[in-house]
Symmetry: C2
Subunit: 464 residues, 2 copies
């Protein structure tokens, strides 16, 4: 159907003022006096709405139209007229209104403001509200900005697998994947489940990270990134955890921790700029109704040179404020959100990279520093949220990696492919992980991860 979009009307109104056009959309409101009616129409293509004026004189179905409920779908034909004195720049004066699909009186989205909690119970309808129109368009724009950032820099997008036969990293928090009949499981001689009869001939789980696979491609294409779903079967019911979420994990070869931080900083700035440029209406709405300081905070991030501080220095800075922390810090401890936010908000007053963490609180694959007690890791902390990105240079020395794995009780035979990379043309390389939903929360100001995922999966919740 050749309908003009409301986006097009707003962006190119000079093409349409004074012309007869056809627009399709859903009613946000509908009111009438005896001879005139006014519909507010949203067509999903644009955050702003279009006012439709319809009169009894021109429309044979006038009475029927006045009875249309909120949510109804209509196709309107009429002249677009400039309205210089009104809040909106134009309106459409209808010569025909075709009822595409009426909405019934029990429509769960009435004109009044609903709570986010209530809207979560109608995940299939909530994208029709202002807040979720803004959030999910921005989510989409962020995804594209990320792809664009990496593709413009000639990175290769790699789809790492979701189902994995390795349960090396955090088995306890993984979802098992199986096609065995749970009510009648085949048993092996030892009485345990016989997974050789399962679909893949062995135990399989949903991945928690694509990084190790990603590294194999970085050693072939130099610069790669992944962007796909990851899963965590964590039994934690917080505003920041979901069982299913998306991750971006770039990996760069012939690169060290400095290159890694430069990449992370450029990427985050690129994404913020992209959203500010491409969704001004949505961002203004969120700034006004969801998170008052949002725009200012993001502008500040874009205009800052990110700070850098080692973990050891950061601990010294934080110890001075130990009286005010719930968890006291000391060298060797993991940083809590309160510490991270204090560092970025109070001390640096801008985004800051914390580097060179104690090896004991970081993963086995991170490159050991010369001091043999810290690793070349980095976390990026941002005001308002704390950690948003975590990365590291990877251990590229075969012997060191092997000995670190043994030290931690990992079985080298489970990582043969990973060790191979250190045997056949190993290069310095680094990478990081960005939790996509955390990024969406950060850019939209939304406080609950359930509100930035179309159909969120959390403990005891897998609806629709």
């Amino acid at each position: 159907m050749d309908l003009i979009t409301i986006r097009d009307l707003y962006r190119n109104k000079e093409n349409y003022i004074g012309k007869t056009i056809q627009v399709g959309g859903w009613l946000r409101s509908n009111r009438d006096s005896k001879t005139f009616g006014f519909m507010i129409l949203n067509d999903g293509t644009f955050f702003e709405t279009l006012q439709v004026v319809y009169g009894q004189d021109k429309l044979s179905n006038f009475q029927e139209l006045t009875k249309l409920n909120v949510g109804s779908a209509v196709i309107v034909t009429g002249e677009l007229v400039a309205t210089p004195d009104a809040k909106q720049p134009f309106e459409i004066q209808a010569t025909e209104v075709f009822i595409e699909g009426p909405s019934s009186a029990d429509y769960p989205l009435q004109k009044k403001r609903h709570t986010l909690e209530y809207l979560r119970t109608i995940a299939h309808l909530r994208p029709r509200t202002n807040t979720y129109q803004a959030v999910f368009r921005i989510r989409s724009l962020i995804a594209y900005a990320i792809h664009t950032f990496f593709m413009e820099r000639n990175f290769v997008y790699v789809h790492t697998p979701l189902i994995t036969g390795s349960d090396c990293e955090g088995a306890g928090e993984m979802f098992r994947v199986t096609t065995l009949d749970m009510d009648s499981l085949p048993k092996a001689e030892d009485g345990k489940v016989d997974f050789t009869q399962d679909f893949f001939g062995k135990e399989t789980n949903l991945t928690v990270s694509g990084q190790l696979n990603g590294e194999t491609y970085a050693q072939a294409f130099r610069n790669i990134y992944t962007f796909g779903p990851t899963f965590r079967a964590e039994n934690s019911n917080t505003t920041r955890h979901a069982a299913e979420f998306w991750m971006i994990e770039p990996e760069i070869a012939f690169a060290d921790l400095k290159d890694d931080m430069l990449l992370a900083e450029s990427m985050l700035k690129f994404v913020i700029n992209y959203v500010l440029e491409n969704a001004p209406e949505e961002m203004n709405f969120l700034n006004q109704f969801i998170d008052k300081g949002l725009l200012e905070r993001l502008q500040h991030v874009v205009n800052s040179d990110f700070g850098h501080v080692t973990y050891t220095e950061a601990i010294e800075l934080l110890e001075k404020n130990n009286d005010n922390f719930d968890y006291k810090v000391s060298w060797g401890c993991d940083l809590q959100t309160e510490h991270e936010r204090y560092l970025t908000e109070q001390i640096f007053k801008k985004p800051v990279f914390v580097t060179d963490y104690p090896k004991d609180i970081k993963a086995f694959y991170m490159k050991m520093n010369d001091d043999n007690r810290t690793v070349a890791a980095m976390d990026l902390l941002v005001p308002g949220i704390g950690e948003i990105i975590g990365g590291s240079q990877r251990e590229d020395d075969y012997a060191k990696l092997l000995s670190r794995m043994k030290e931690l009780g990992l079985k080298p035979e489970d990582y043969q492919f990973y060790l191979d990379l250190r045997k056949y043309g190993s290069t310095r390389h680094a990478g990081f992980g960005l939790g996509f939903e955390r990024c969406v929360m950060y850019l939209t100001g939304m406080g609950n991860i359930r509100d930035v995922i179309p159909f969120p999966r959390t403990v005891n919740n897998c609806d629709l």
Copy 2:
């Protein structure tokens, strides 16, 4: 590190000829006479390689360099010199070669040509070969082309969920997701597994399609698309089936089957053009070594107006050739690949949409035609492969959808959210599904799906 990429050298050589530059990469080959050596370097950023000339006079580590194995990583400094008489446009004359990481003699990728079967056994190393460099760069470009196509048209990218509580569509072929201890399952009173104790409090599976969820967002944003993994626990070991693959599923509101076909045709042409423009070296290689007719076939697709034929007409055309088919056709039967290819290759000699299939061989949600025996479905068939896209207009009438569901024995209470869309401002709408891997196979000429997925998952195969 400020290394010049080989891509940059080839694309902007005028900036570098005569200058001293630094390049990092992996050895494809290394040979030497007594005083001179020649390395062929690939750095993963570009399909073509760079020749490095290194001499005993300038390099103190000359002897060490001559012993480097294929696969070694080096960083070369030297002058880029034009070589107008050689096959390659330039070479680098090394003043320094730093050995970033040597490769051992047992490197599984020697200079000789390996079979694809062998390379499948080293999924972590095969992207270093020409064929997989081409395939996986093109895979990445196709993904970006798809995102770009939809984003330029203001579609919203929606992440539909992977873990689903609905087993409505094809339960038998789904993977179960669980955190229950398989060796000690909790039982309910009836002796069956008690899934209320599972992570989500009920039975969950991996999704086979995001379409139904996608439709809810199309009724909010008008035009949306999904691009994410889907899963099929089909026990079929063919060259075209994987247990885990990616799907693109656009959904458009205020749109009918014609709009849907127009969208599919535009998208496919856009993607092909994008790849031809952005990966000429890779496409030429594939055309030469993998699939001789590839470029001609794709050019033909781009330059054709796709054909249109109804299923009923197609059956009439095919019946004339029944003697030559393994499976004879007659009205009501599903089309096999041999029939699809005959239609598109022999009869139409170009891509063709087959429309209006019998309702009994299509899904419940497809819009019933007025004849009450066919539905507004379409499959796009392309030469060389058969079906590549399948779509339909959706049933948007509440009563008709409900009665069709009951006819097929589906429980309306399982689809309440889906029925709601037909109750609250229903619109004509349509969509289609494109199997991403099938698209990659089509554009690269690769014949086995295991060769277009970085780490493929198939029956009894979940390595790395």
